[in-house]
Symmetry: C2
Subunit: 619 residues, 2 copies
């Protein structure tokens, strides 16, 4: 017998987006308070597969940990001369925009809404946070384009947000200033926002990158970020909208000669003095690490430092620094680590609690934000296996304590029919089992593999400037971007201690302030993020830093090659077209991983003069 | 009494472009066989100034050393998405083309013709050697545009040449192949070329970059460069046209791990086996150094290695690697050194003799080619002082043994009325003398200054990849471009010896093959081009390599600062607008020179660990 599905009817306990699933006496029941809740319940049944209709199940109540689970699209309306249609996009063009206009056919947008609902994502920003001239008009003249997208996504419980230009009132000719304390400016935003809500009654709100990397902001008027954010929040409040105000603010014209300035400190230094000044519909959107989406960073100290501010954590689903969707890199384990990090020590709440608003005496949570990895590519994400990151983002936003391997397992079952669906009884043997096992081998630790063949011990940014793909150890070393490793013939790493360095460790509460400060206690994987050490420094596993660099780089490439061969064996179990696509991408991943290995190893051999203890060839 | 000017009337001894100047009994006489010769004679009088009408002068016969004195414009018709309107251009847009079409107003082209005649240049290529789709059409559909330019330049004795796409017959749909031995292809080129000469009877010929950096060429058909060049030469021969075939051919997808491959060897290895196979209207156009217009390179060994081939030497007037017309860098001393270099030792002929066809048993000369530094900037060359390079190029092509300081002196007199013209009796005292003296101080050794604050001891390519401006010591170190310095903690430089290196030294005839091979005899300024040495290696002046790096970088910056202050003192002596432009550019030059100094010094300090003996601050 099929499932019985229906709304619970007025029972507030299930919650706006929650649902209850049960199977009792041969009947599967899904209850919810809202259509969206019901939809989520339906997708839950899909995940369960046959199992939903097997043995009796006690009632399970599901609801999302975080209210806001948002994907930001860095999509441009006009093709940007350098950044293209999608900034940092690796999956073709935008699903929304094409050559300066809304796409004629929005069928794909509707399908995207369904995909998002299946993952649990409930909000989307439809344009790049770097808001150029044409995109500024989305707020006014081109608002109907945004409304058209909202119409397609609404049935799937997904609300639309808009990235706005802080200087829009001036840029659009409405006022002479964009000063957030100016009455005309306030009136302009109020009027414009009211018109937005006329067109899109369930509009989500604004996303703003202000006073960052050249974008306009309140500083031009002698105002601060709270003034700026509150201006927009005031305009949105009557309609229930929110402002996502990005904390990605730093000096991108730093003097590389000056070792006292530390980009890692910037967000904390800028924002923590403002804690308590933001309106309650302002969400401070904080990147998960203090620098910029490197494969290994500590968790941003800002997350634990603003108890009276709603904080959202921003993750990068698009693989700017993690292989640009040409490399397999399943990011859920990294995100899971971030969400599980407990800034106040093991007894305190974790990052997931902060973003869920689940901290005693803390502000409401700001939820989780991901930078989307989706484009108009037939596989949505360029690399077919990168779809797993999209799925995992939504699932972790819904249930942050989920096990990344279990999420991957769900995704495999939903994606590859040959894996036998998600029925625990199916697919474990024979071809289905082989496929499932192989995909776990290829993907489970692929982020660890990526880390091994790229940048060692948390030091970050050894990529080619500009496009950020492939190695260039010194590429950012003598630039104004604040991203250095300070390697010399004796050692490598950034001294961020209070004792002798930039003092960044002091931005953490105990115990982490002490753990990171201590050379002995600092976790190996973050050693070079926090300390400058000689190449002979011995890690906790007994290896020296230099030997660790060599070993991990050889190991990382071997792992890629094993994964590549493992994938080749899956011919026939996976449809031909995606199999061929991934096979081609593996050839590129292997080439690039070898390039990383050889450049990083050659660089450090030339600098340190220490030969590989195992005598392998280093160019 | 004014000058008497007239043609010599049938007296062949003066030559096509030559002239005779004399002053006898109060009459100044200019004689020539042709209108162009007369024009050159007239400009000679302008250079002489008042002196032309003073004391009696015996008859002087002037004629150009080289028949072909050509400027190549790397101008695109369509604005290239990366390279812009003028590839490697630093003086605004093209004077010929704008936004995909010929400019409406060609007044500037006419003025350019006059400028070229005043310098002695008699040929111009009107489009980029990288020939894209629209530019391919200049040969056919857009030929009238080329003819319009030719009409403007003809009165000044300047012939127009065209860069062509070797695959043009296929690209333009004329034939199914571009195979140089195919009869249809030969017929296509013959027909197309005949039509070119119908439109432009004095058309100069074709310039071709083939099988180089991705451009098409004869290799695709299993043919060699001689086959390719002869194909075009055959089509041009009936009309007296020539093919400039560029020797800039190398593997730009080299593996940086492979130290046996040497880009410096490439042109010689590709072309010397073909010596004797080129038709006599083929000119092999060879860059002056074996790599690519670095501020210090040895002279290309190809120049001395092809006695049965007409060779032209290509210089880069546009300052791609020498400050991009934001830095003062008077290039004539470098060019003079190249032209004066005697490949077979002091008793043999020099490079100037080779390009003039003045070598016993050698081929006719191919002349001198410069890549133009001119654009639509009001000062023609962006940096007002870069005009001196344009002038010096023409003057050296006419008379290669000229003294660069004397050429500069001429240019100062012609350019700055305040310097008192070129009358030897004027301008030596007072303001005029001050201006002249200051400009010599600023410019005479500015190329040496540039070399000092940039790349040490001939090793080359420490620039930012892509745009090539400013330092990036490792920017090209791990790339496929074949441009490496191999610095490690112990030493730096490229071993190009026969004994232990790439064997490049063997491409020179004696004595240079021996001089460059020998660590003891190799000139210091080319040490790292030919040898990999420890940082402690002692140069001929007693300094170590590492200390030389520090010293020259500090000195170079100090020299820029002195030149900057010297220029500031000239306010009032130079018109305000160019004075302000140069003052602003000096601020940028100083900033950039300091960046070079600090990056290069920091890089080598970090690598070598050797402190500056004079204790100066290195970041």
């Amino acid at each position: 017998m099929g499932p019985v599905i229906g709304t619970a009817g007025g029972d507030e306990r299930i919650g706006d987006e929650g649902y209850v699933v049960a199977r009792h006496e041969g009947v599967t029941v899904v209850l919810a308070d809202s259509a969206t809740g019901l939809l989520y319940g339906l997708f839950h049944l899909v995940r369960l597969g046959e199992e939903a209709f097997g043995a009796a199940r006690p009632a399970e109540h599901h609801r999302p940990a975080a209210r806001l689970r948002m994907l930001d699209h860095w999509d441009n309306v006009d093709v940007h001369p350098v950044m293209g249609q999608v900034e940092r996009g690796y999956a073709g063009g935008s699903i929304f925009w094409r050559d300066g206009a809304l796409r004629d056919d929005l069928t794909r947008v509707r399908a995207y809404g369904r995909l998002l609902a299946a993952c649990g994502v409930n909000a989307v920003t439809v344009n790049n946070v770097n808001v150029h001239a044409t995109e500024t008009l989305l707020l006014t003249d081109r608002l109907r384009d945004v409304a058209a997208i909202a119409d397609r996504l609404r049935p799937y419980g997904v609300r639309v947000h808009l990235s706005v230009n802080f200087a829009a009132p001036v840029a659009l000719g409405g006022t002479a200033t964009a000063d957030p304390l100016d009455e005309d400016v306030r009136a302009w935003w109020a009027a414009v926002t009211a018109r937005v809500y006329e067109a899109i009654p369930d509009f989500g709100g604004y996303v703003v990158k202000a006073d960052s990397e050249g974008q306009p902001g309140p500083h031009a008027y002698g105002r601060d970020h709270a003034d700026g954010a509150n201006l927009l929040a005031e305009a949105l409040a009557p309609f229930g909208g929110v402002v996502h105000w990005r904390a990605f603010v730093y000096n991108h014209r730093q003097d590389w000669r000056d070792r006292s300035t530390d980009r890692a400190r910037a967000a904390y230094d800028h924002f923590t003095p403002l804690d308590g000044r933001f309106r309650d519909n302002v969400i401070l959107q904080v990147k998960h690490g203090p620098i910029d989406f490197q494969v290994r960073e500590p968790v941003s100290p800002v997350i634990a430092a603003m108890p009276r501010t709603r904080v959202a954590v921003e993750l990068q689903v698009t693989q700017e620094y993690t292989g640009q969707q040409r490399h397999v890199c399943y990011l859920a384990p990294m995100w899971s680590e971030v969400l599980g990090f407990r800034p106040w020590g093991p007894a305190g709440p974790g990052v997931a609690h902060v973003v869920a608003g689940d901290v005693a005496d803390g502000a409401a949570g700001g939820g989780l934000v991901g930078v989307s990895n989706v484009g108009d590519d037939p596989y949505w994400t360029g690399h077919p296996l990168a779809q797993a990151n999209l799925y995992a983002f939504g699932r972790l936003a819904w249930a942050p304590s989920s096990d990344p391997a279990a999420i991957l397992d769900e995704w495999i079952g939903l994606t590859f029919p040959a894996a036998g669906g998600n029925d625990a009884t199916g697919g474990d043997d024979g071809d289905g089992g082989r496929l499932r096992e192989a995909l776990h081998e290829i993907m489970d630790d692929s982020c660890g593999t990526y880390e091994r063949y790229t940048v060692p011990l948390g030091v970050g940014f050894m990529v080619r400037p500009g496009h950020h793909y492939g190695p260039d150890v010194d590429g950012y070393e003598y630039t104004p971007w604040g991203t250095y490793h300070f390697a010399d013939r004796d050692g490598v790493g950034v001294d961020r201690t209070r004792a002798t360095g930039t003092g960044f460790t002091g931005q953490y509460p105990p115990p982490w302030s002490e753990v990171y400060e201590s050379l002995a206690r600092c976790p190996d994987e973050l050693l070079l993020f926090f300390h400058h050490v000689p190449y002979g420094h011995v890690l906790h596993d007994g290896t020296t830093v230099i030997q660790h660099i060599y070993d991990t780089h050889f190991a990382g490439v071997e792992e890629v090659d094993r994964a590549r061969l493992r994938w080749a064996e899956l011919a026939g179990l996976v449809p031909d077209a995606p199999h061929a696509r991934v096979r081609e991408l593996f050839a590129e991943q292997l080439r690039c991983a070898e390039e990383w290995r050889d450049q990083v190893n050659a660089y450090f051999l030339r600098k340190s003069g220490v030969p590989d203890a195992r005598g392998r060839r280093i160019p």
